[in-house]
Symmetry: C2
Subunit: 305 residues, 2 copies
């Protein structure tokens, strides 16, 4: 894969999963499905729609099986699910998921708090999940959480990330997503880590999952893209964050990422008007204003009319 | 001047001018002065505090003379003023201003709408203002508005900017500020234009004055800094915008720029806690929440305590 010099960027939508997991109020299944379909209609080809976790831990995803079943497998889009352990992976595959993402933390403390496992245990689960996925013809991806810093342990050394990535690719992982779970990354760090990764794993697919907790989310996306990363994960309307980290709200809004990339001449192959309509719908089902600059601009246009 | 490789960035604060000019309600002189002094206490060395324009055009600055007089000339900070014509420059110099900034647009239509002059007329005024400033030992700077695009004319060719800069430097202008008046710039454009400028005028001081209208403000700052620009203009709390351009609200918040640069190891020599206190004070005197990520984080910390 020689994506570094391409002028097109793949956007992977995570709002329905990373966004909704922080939502206290249960969003009805049919609204989740409608949002997923509107995102697909805007051209998104990869949409993470749910998580197979304990309904006690995250009640929002008690309808994971149903969401996957209703959405099915249209040809133009992959509706995927997150899992944090082998049990979740088994459930997801049984439900018909064709693309799985599981989580490994780059920090021991965050790993314990997030999935109640050590990094080694999470990797062992990961190896079993990867094997299970391969047996079932399911794509398998990994979110490497806290790649850019841990709220408990601070800076995560680049070598820690490289070593974990090596182990994950050795399991046959299709793509690794570098997660800035607590929004601690800065553009210099993103640039250095991405360049380090692409020099060590030039053919290995990587994506960036950055948060805008401290306002530098889009600057970090820019740093990643300029370093050669060609897959960016974002959340419609900017909904979400990690419920296990205080103040880690603020995913990057898909429509803001797309505006920036398209303004620079990088093709996302997405329909910006339809994306904005999806963001408006996300606001409607969540019943509040979302943190997206494109939504703010839309509202100010309406005020002036 | 060989600033390109330095690890320190000068922040020029414009909130009291570019911020307040969009405020309908008159802010009492003593509050303006208190805000200016709190910004200086945070370490800001260049603060644009007012504008010598017709009080009918911008009633907010009817106290320009008084603000300048009260603030005086402490050794550690330069309190400057904006002017749009020769009359304003004469008034400012008479009031004791030691650093002036005047505006030239890079687009004819914006020039007419903003200062009711053609670009040529604005340049002619500029030459007289520059001569007057030099005679009086006053520093003279220029804001080159709409350098990254005009809301009426669209994209502004790089050559238009280069040609205007050449004319301005020939007048003896001390520094040129490239203004993204309508927030139309993108990081690729900022990078290309800044690199083009620094290759043509390697010794000439330039600053960037970017707006966050479309959410890419900090990404554009990053692009500028990575291209070698070492002076960034921003507004405490992100207050402001251009009152003559619809929806051009959203200056970049000083505290957000400073967070990003410092997180990357670039020194601003500013006290981030004191800056945040200034932003809180700005919210207090404006009577509303301002659009700054650092302020939002501060509030969410308070909520959790």
């Amino acid at each position: 894969m020689t994506v570094q010099h391409s002028d097109s960027i793949l956007i992977r939508e995570v709002g329905l999963r990373d966004g909704l997991q922080a939502e206290q109020r249960f969003i009805p299944t049919e609204q989740k499905v409608e949002l997923a379909r509107s995102l697909a209609a805007a051209g998104l080809q990869e949409i993470e729609v749910t998580s197979f976790v304990s309904p006690r831990a995250v009640p929002q995803f008690q309808d994971a099986k149903e969401v996957i079943k209703i959405l099915g497998h249209p040809g133009n889009v992959s509706y995927s699910a997150l899992v944090v352990n082998l049990r979740g992976a088994e459930d997801a595959i049984a439900a018909g998921v064709k693309e799985l993402q599981f989580v490994v933390s780059a920090s021991e403390t965050h790993s314990q708090k997030n999935v109640r496992m050590s990094i080694s245990e999470a990797l062992a689960h990961g190896a079993k999940i990867a094997a299970l996925a391969k047996q079932n013809g399911v794509k398998i991806r990994t979110a490497l959480a806290t790649s850019f810093g841990c709220p408990y342990e601070g800076f995560v050394p680049y070598d820690t990330v490289y070593t974990l990535m090596e182990k994950l690719f050795a399991m046959g992982i299709d793509r690794i997503s570098l997660g800035d779970t607590a929004g601690l990354g800065n553009p210099k760090q993103v640039s250095e880590l991405c360049r380090g990764i692409l020099s060590r794993f030039p053919d290995a697919p990587c994506s960036l999952h950055l948060h805008d907790t401290r306002g530098v989310g889009l600057a970090c996306v820019l740093a990643g893209v300029w370093s050669g990363i060609r897959v960016i994960e974002s959340s419609i309307g900017g909904i979400g964050g990690c419920p296990f980290i205080p103040n880690a709200t603020g995913n990057i809004a898909t429509e803001d990422v797309v505006y920036m990339l398209e303004s620079m001449g990088l093709a996302t192959n997405l329909d910006q008007e339809k994306l904005l309509a999806s963001a408006v719908f996300a606001e409607k089902i969540l019943g509040r204003s979302l943190n997206s600059k494109q939504l703010a601009l839309l509202k100010s246009r309406h005020c002036n009319n």
